[in-house]
């Protein structure tokens, strides 16, 4: 069952610009996570934000969470060609070990 929905589905920007991706979900959550997937590879965890947090930073990444709107955003500042990848949000809504995944945003950074 898919809970998260990312927006936009695809995003193409120039190197050096900021990239913003959004994620919406449907039920109450314990935390929300963002993962990156390079083409044809597995996913790599980027950042986790708990339901009682509103903003979190990690290097060039900034994540916000609005539980009243059931939405989150991932901002990548000063984008680089190496940021080209698909980005997925995943929500942890229960105690049964599962994450619920969105369909992903494909980000292309043009040199």
């Amino acid at each position: 069952s898919q809970q998260g929905e990312e927006d936009p589905q695809a995003l193409s920007i120039q190197e050096g610009e900021n990239a913003t991706m959004n994620c919406s979900y449907k039920t109450s959550i314990n935390n929300l996570q963002w993962y990156r997937q390079n083409s044809g590879r597995g996913l790599v965890h980027l950042i986790l934000i708990r339901s009682n947090e509103r903003e979190k930073h990690s290097g060039r990444l900034r994540v916000t969470l609005d539980t009243s709107k059931k939405s989150s955003s991932l901002l990548i500042t000063a984008s680089r060609a190496a940021d080209t990848a698909s980005y997925f949000c995943a929500t942890d809504a229960s105690s049964n070990y599962q994450l619920i995944w969105g369909a992903g945003t494909k980000l292309i950074i043009k040199p």
Binding site: S1, R41, G42, L43, L48, A90, Y97, G102, A103
Partner: protein
């Protein structure tokens, strides 16, 4: 660093064949997962295991089975492969402390 290793990056099988996808993790994680990933559909959970010999169905278990005889190894079995099982298969593991999943590189399976 956590390492999750999937036995094959690419596999080509014939319809009706029995297919084994193997996954090994080296962090003594209790939980392991098998997903399939198709364009536009994100990750869909096939099965997960929360301990040795313990398994639970995910969202799309039909046509699949799993085996977890040892803590580090979680196998996905396609009993009789069909063309609609052509997909990217991803294995993940997770420890108890945080709900962060660590992924293998994926197996791209083509069933002809």
């Amino acid at each position: 660093d956590v390492k999750v290793t999937q036995s094959s990056r690419y596999l080509v099988k014939r319809t009706g064949e029995k297919v084994f996808l193997e996954c090994v993790q080296d962090m003594d994680h209790e939980n392991m997962f098998w997903y399939r990933q198709d364009p536009g559909l994100g990750l869909r959970l096939i099965y997960f295991s929360y301990d040795v010999k313990m398994k639970e169905k995910g969202d799309i278990p039909e046509g699949y089975s799993v085996s977890r005889e040892k803590k580090e190894r979680f196998s996905l079995i396609l009993e009789s492969a069909s063309t609609n099982q052509t997909s990217m298969y991803l294995c993940a593991s997770r420890g108890i402390a945080k709900n962060i999943q660590y992924f293998g590189a994926g197996t791209r399976l083509s069933v002809l």
